[in-house]
C-alpha cells in the first residue's frame, strides 16, 4: 500500500458525499508467466468514480482495462496478482479483504455486466431463477413470494415484455438484446453503488445496442448507481460517459471529461485514435492510422510505451528514455506525455491536411476498370429447412430475390444486422453453399452450373477474406506455406511470388518463416489478404474483414485495402455491420433486412437521403462523437422478428415507426422512388 493510501485511511472521512464511489490508486497488476517471468500488465493506474457518474474506460485489446476492473471485483484469475496500490469502495479498502468478505461486496455494492449475454446466463436454469439467485444471495431471509415479485419488477424495469411469463422461460427463448436486459436486471438486483459494464453491447447489433444502452441509462437514473463503462468503441463512450480514461499498454495515458477529450485530445494516442475513426459525416481518401501495434507487455520499449508509434515523439531522447507520469493539466484533466502541448497543433495540422485534400484535389481518379460488369447476381434465393419438434419442418428464407450488378474496380457494401442474410449471401456467391434459385455471373459467364475441375478453375477469380483472423489461418503452417497454398493448388508455386505478396500487404519475407500464433490480429488479416490475392482474382469478398480489429489496426487494414484496389484494379464486395466503415470504403450500398435487399443506391445517396425507414433507423442508432441525443424517433423498435415466421406484408413493419395497415397487407417491391438508381422497398420511401 502506498503512503498516500495509508494516510487516507488514517484520516476519518468527513463528508460522505465527497467520498468517491470507487477510488483506485497506483494499482499495479502482475502476471507470472510459465517461465517464472513477472510481467506488469497494469501499471500505476489511478482514477476515481464519483457518485452518479459514468466513467468510460477506453483502450485497445491488451491495454489492461478489463483487468483493472476485474481487480476491483476481486476476480483476478490465477497467476495474476495485485502487486501494489489500493482500491477503495466507498472509502473501504478492498485489496486486503478475504474471499468471503469480498463475496459480500460483489453483487451487493458492486456488480458487473459482461460482454456476452449468451455465456453469462446459465442455459439450463430458468431466467427468473437466475435473477432470484442474485437477490437471495444477499437477502437470505427474504421469502419466496417476495423475491419472485421483486424479480418480476426488475424484469419489467429493464423493459422485458410479459415478465410473468418470461420469468419461467429459459435463456435460449430470449434474443441477444433481451438476454442482455436480463443480465442488467441481475446486476441491478441489489441496487449496487457501482456498476461495471465490460463491453456490454459489443456482441449486439447496433439497433439493439441503442435500446440496451437506453435501458442501462434508465435503471441507473432510478437507482443512482455510478458506472464504469469499459469499451473499445469511442463513439459509444462519447455518448454515454461523463468522463473518460484512455488506457494504453497497462497505463492510463489521458483522463478528461468526455466532451473536452474529443474536442481537444492532449495525448497523441488519443488524438490518433480519434483521427483513425471512420466518420459517418464525411469521407476521406485515407484514414489516419497509428503505425505499428500495441507492444507485447514483455517487450515494452523503454521510456514511453507509445513512443515507437507516436507522431509527435519523433525519436526524441526524452520519450525514448523516460516514461512520462500522468500529470494534471487544468481542472479534471490529466495526461501522460512529455510533449502534450504539441498534440493540439498536430491535430489541427492533420485536420487541415484532410480538408486540403478534400477541397483542392477531388478524389484522385482510381485505376478503374472499363465499366464492365464483373460480378452480377440475379434473383438469388436460399431457403433453409429447419427441423422443429417431431415432424415439424419450417422454412427459413435466408435470401429472397437478391440482385446486384457490380462494375470493375468498384466496391459494393452489403449492410445489415445479424440474421439479415449477408453472410449467407457471401457463401452463396462463393459457392460454399448452394443457392436455391437465381444465378451469379462472374465476368459474364454463369457460375452455378460449373462442377468439379471447371469450378475449381473458375472460382479462383472470386476470392474471400473472412472476419476471424484467428480461425482463417491453419495454426500448424508457416506463413510462407499459408500464402503458397493457393499457388500450390494451382501448380504455380514460386517463392518469389509469395515474397511479393507478403510485400504487397506490408510484411517482410522473413515473416514467412514464422507460424500464425506469433502474429497479432491485424497482421493475420494482412496474411489472409495476401493469400486471397495469390491467384490474381478479379473480385474479393470481404466478409466483415475488419470487424474484429482494434480501431487503429482497422484503419491500417482499410487503407491497405484501398491501396490494393487502386494498384491492382480489384473489385470488392464489402460485407459489414459497421456503417461508418462502409461509408468510407464503398461506392454503392445494398441494405439487407431478413434476407431481402430493402435499399440499394450509391453510398452518397444512402447517407444523405436514406429512403427506407430501416436504413434511417440504422444510421440513427450508430453512436458517434458529439452527437447526443440522436433522433430517437427514428430508432427501430424491438427485436428482429422470428425469421421462420416473418410478419405479413413488409417484414420490417413490426419495428417501423411509420407502419400502417397497408404495410401488413402488401410487401413493397424494390423500386425507384426518387432519382434514378436509388432503389428502396418501402411504401412510404422518402424522396
Amino acid at each position: 500500500m502506498t503512503d498516500a493510501a495509508i494516510a487516507a485511511e488514517a484520516t476519518p472521512t468527513t463528508a460522505l458525499d465527497r467520498v468517491p464511489v470507487l477510488s483506485v490508486h497506483n494499482l499495479c497488476i502482475e502476471v507470472k508467466t510459465p517461465d517464472g517471468e513477472r510481467v506488469e500488465l497494469v501499471r500505476d493506474v489511478s482514477f476515481d468514480v464519483n457518485e452518479h457518474e459514468v466513467l468510460g474506460l477506453v483502450g485497445e485489446s491488451g491495454s489492461g482495462k478489463s483487468l483493472t476492473m476485474l481487480a476491483v471485483l476481486g476476480l483476478l484469475g490465477s497467476g495474476l496478482r495485485i502487486v501494489s496500490g489500493s482500491i477503495r469502495l466507498r472509502g473501504q479498502e478492498i485489496t486486503n479483504l478475504s474471499f468471503h468478505e469480498m463475496q459480500k461486496i460483489r453483487g451487493k455494492a458492486v456488480s458487473i455486466i459482461f460482454q456476452d449475454p449468451l455465456t453469462t446466463l446459465n442455459p439450463v436454469l430458468r431466467v427468473g431463477k437466475q435473477v432470484a439467485e442474485a437477490i437471495r444471495l444477499h437477502n437470505p431471509d427474504k421469502g419466496e413470494a417476495e423475491i419472485k415479485a421483486r424479480v418480476i419488477e426488475l424484469l419489467s424495469l429493464v423493459g422485458i415484455p410479459n415478465p410473468e411469463r418470461r420469468y419461467s422461460q429459459f435463456p435460449n427463448e430470449f434474443s441477444g438484446g433481451m438476454r442482455q436486459r436480463v443480465v442488467i436486471a441481475m446486476a441491478m438486483a441489489n441496487e449496487p453503488d457501482l456498476l461495471i459494464a465490460d463491453e456490454p453491447t459489443t456482441a449486439l447489433d447496433v439497433t439493439i445496442q441503442a435500446q440496451v444502452m437506453e435501458v442501462l441509462a434508465e435503471v441507473r437514473a432510478r437507482t443512482g448507481a455510478a458506472m464504469v463503462l469499459i469499451t473499445h468503441d469511442l463513439g459509444l463512450v462519447s455518448e454515454y460517459a461523463d468522463r473518460l480514461a484512455v488506457m494504453y499498454s497497462g497505463r492510463i495515458v489521458e483522463q478528461a471529461p468526455s466532451a473536452e477529450l474529443f474536442a481537444s485530445p492532449r495525448h497523441p494516442y488519443t488524438a490518433g485514435l480519434i483521427a483513425s475513426l471512420p466518420q459517418l459525416e464525411r469521407k476521406v481518401e485515407t484514414l489516419y492510422s497509428i503505425p505499428g501495434f500495441v507492444p507485447d507487455p514483455r517487450k515494452r520499449p523503454t521510456g514511453c510505451a507509445f513512443a515507437p508509434r507516436c507522431a509527435i515523439a519523433n525519436g526524441r531522447p526524452l520519450c525514448l528514455s523516460q516514461s512520462p507520469d500522468l500529470e494534471s493539466i487544468g481542472a479534471n484533466r490529466a495526461v501522460a506525455c512529455h510533449y502534450s502541448a504539441e498534440t493540439a497543433a498536430w491535430s489541427t495540422a492533420y485536420q487541415a491536411k484532410l480538408e486540403n485534400v478534400a477541397t483542392e484535389t477531388p478524389l484522385p481518379v482510381r485505376k478503374q476498370g472499363d465499366g464492365t460488369t464483373v460480378l452480377r447476381a440475379s434473383n438469388l434465393s436460399k431457403v433453409f429447412t429447419v427441423r422443429g419438434k417431431g415432424l415439424q419442418r419450417s422454412k427459413l428464407y435466408a435470401l429472397r430475390n437478391v440482385s446486384f450488378d457490380l462494375k470493375a474496380g468498384k466496391t459494393l457494401g452489403i449492410v445489415g444486422e445479424s440474421g439479415s442474410g449477408k453472410s449467407t449471401l457471401a457463401r452463396v456467391l462463393l459457392r460454399l453453399a448452394e443457392a436455391g434459385g437465381g444465378e451469379v455471373y462472374l465476368n459474364g459467364s454463369p457460375l452455378f452450373s460449373l462442377r468439379g475441375r471447371e469450378l475449381r478453375q473458375r472460382r479462383r477469380d472470386l476470392q474471400v477474406v473472412f472476419q476471424d483472423p484467428y480461425s482463417s489461418l491453419d495454426p500448424r503452417m508457416k506463413i510462407h506455406d499459408v500464402i503458397a497454398e493457393p499457388l500450390r493448388i494451382a501448380g504455380s508455386y514460386s517463392a518469389e511470388r509469395v515474397n511479393q505478396l507478403l510485400e504487397h500487404v506490408g510484411l517482410t519475407a522473413a515473416a514467412g518463416q514464422r507460424r500464425s500464433p506469433e502474429f497479432s490480429g491485424g497482421q493475420r488479416q494482412r496474411i489472409a489478404i495476401a493469400r486471397s490475392l495469390a491467384l490474381n482474382p478479379d473480385v474479393l469478398i470481404l466478409d466483415e474483414a475488419v470487424s474484429a480489429l482494434d480501431v487503429s489496426i482497422q484503419a491500417q487494414i482499410i487503407n491497405l485495402l484501398k491501396k490494393l484496389q487502386q494498384d491492382l484494379g480489384l473489385t470488392y464486395v464489402f460485407i459489414s455491420h459497421d456503417l461508418s466503415v462502409v461509408r468510407h470504403i464503398c461506392d454503392e450500398i445494398a441494405v439487407m433486412y431478413l434476407g431481402r435487399v430493402i435499399e440499394y443506391a450509391s453510398t452518397e445517396a444512402v447517407f444523405s437521403t436514406p429512403a427506407h425507414p430501416y436504413t434511417r433507423g440504422l444510421l440513427a442508432a450508430i453512436p458517434r462523437i458529439g452527437m447526443w441525443p440522436h433522433g430517437k424517433g427514428l430508432l427501430a423498435r424491438g427485436d428482429l422478428p422470428n425469421p421462420m415466421k416473418p410478419p405479413s406484408g413488409c417484414a420490417f413493419r413490426t419495428r417501423c415507426p411509420m407502419a400502417t395497415a397497408l404495410c401488413a397487407e402488401n410487401e413493397p417491391v424494390l423500386s425507384d422512388h426518387a432519382e434514378t438508381s436509388h432503389l428502396s422497398a418501402c411504401h412510404f420511401a422518402l424522396a
Binding site: 472460382r459 474471400v464 480461425s471 482463417s472 500448424r476 497454398e485 493448388i489 493469400r531
Partner: protein, 277 residues
C-alpha cells in the same frame, strides 16, 4: 524448451520404463529359456533356489519354467499384438472419420451407421465367434482386434472434422480450388492426428486387456507361446500354493495398462493447454 515433466508424465514414464526393461532389456540378459521345462524345479517361489543350485528371481511355474523369462516373452507378444492392432484401427478409424466428416450426407450416414452396428455387437462375443471360425494366431488376433476397435477413432475424427471443415482456413482453401483430397491431406489430417494419438494411447490399454481376456479364455495366444492372460489362467489353479503365478502377470498387465492411461491423460492435458494458448 521445457525440460520438466508434469507429475502425471513422470509417473507414466516411470511405469512404462519398468515395462520397457521387462520387455526389451530382460530378454537380452542371460536368462533361462522361457520354454525350457524342468519338472524338478516346478512351483518355486519368488527368489527360489532349486536343490541343484538354480536361482529363479521370480520363481517357476508348474512345469518348472522360469517365470521371469516367460513374463518377458509374454510381454513382447502382448505389446506386439497391441501395437499392430492400434495401428490397424487407427488407419481405418481416421480414414472413415475424415471421410464421414468432410463429405457428410449419405456417406456419413453409412459410416456412422456401421459404427453403431459395430458398437451394438459385444466385442468379446464377436471376437470369440471370429477366432472360433478362423482359428487363433498372433497375426489374426492383431488384425481382428484392430478391425473391431476403429469406432472411437472414427467418432473423434469425424467430430473434429465437422468443426474444422467450417473453419475459415478450410473454406479459403476450397474457394481457392482445393480438392477434397487436398483439404483432407493438408489441413484435416495434421490437425486431427494429435488427438488420435491420445485416443490410441488409451485404446492400447483396452486392447492389451482384451487380448489378455481372450487368451485367458483360451481363444487368444496358443501355448507354448506365453501370454499374460494365459499365465493368469494357468496360475489360478495354484492360487493357494503358488500365488505369484497368477499375481505376477496381473501386475505386469496392470503396470503396462495404467502407464498408457497416464500417458494418454498427460497428452490430453498438454493439448488442452496448447488450445488455450
Amino acid at each position: 524448451m521445457k525440460a520438466r515433466f508434469s507429475p502425471l508424465q513422470t509417473i507414466a514414464i516411470l511405469l512404462l520404463a519398468v515395462m520397457a526393461v521387462l520387455v526389451i532389456v530382460v530378454p537380452l540378459l542371460p536368462i533361462y529359456d522361457p520354454y525350457g521345462q524342468n519338472l524338478s524345479d516346478s512351483l518355486l517361489p519368488i527368489g527360489g533356489r532349486s536343490f541343484n543350485g538354480h536361482f529363479y528371481l521370480l520363481g517357476t511355474d508348474t512345469l518348472g519354467r522360469d517365470m521371469l523369462s516367460r513374463l518377458a516373452l509374454a510381454g513382447q507378444v502382448s505389446t506386439l499384438i497391441g501395437l499392430s492392432a492400434v495401428a490397424v484401427s487407427l488407419v481405418i478409424g481416421v480414414t472413415l472419420g475424415l471421410i464421414a466428416g468432410y463429405f457428410r450426407g449419405p456417406i456419413e450416414a453409412i459410416i456412422m451407421g456401421l459404427a453403431d452396428l459395430q458398437l451394438s455387437i459385444p466385442r468379446v462375443l464377436l471376437l470369440i465367434a471370429v477366432t472360433a471360425i478362423v482359428g487363433p494366431s498372433v497375426a489374426g488376433l492383431a488384425i481382428i482386434l484392430g478391425v473391431t476397435s476403429w469406432v472411437s477413432y472414427g467418432r473423434v475424427a469425424r467430430g473434429m472434422t465437422l468443426s474444422l471443415r467450417e473453419r475459415e482456413f478450410i473454406l479459403s482453401a476450397r474457394v481457392q480450388g482445393a480438392s477434397a483430397v487436398w483439404n483432407i491431406r493438408q489441413h484435416l489430417l495434421p490437425n486431427v492426428l494429435p488427438q488420435m494419438l491420445i485416443v490410441a494411447s488409451y485404446e492400447f490399454g483396452m486392447i492389451i486387456v482384451l487380448e489378455a481376456s481372450l487368451s485367458y479364455l483360451g481363444l487368444g495366444v496358443q501355448p507354448p507361446l506365453p501370454s499374460w492372460g494365459m499365465m493368469v489362467a494357468e496360475g489360478q489353479n495354484y492360487l493357494a500354493l503358488a500365488p505369484h503365478l497368477a499375481i505376477m502377470p496381473s501386475i505386469a498387465l496392470f503396470i503396462l495398462v495404467i502407464g498408457f492411461q497416464f500417458l494418454s491423460q498427460a497428452f490430453t492435458k498438454e493439448n488442452d493447454l496448447e488450445m488455450v494458448a
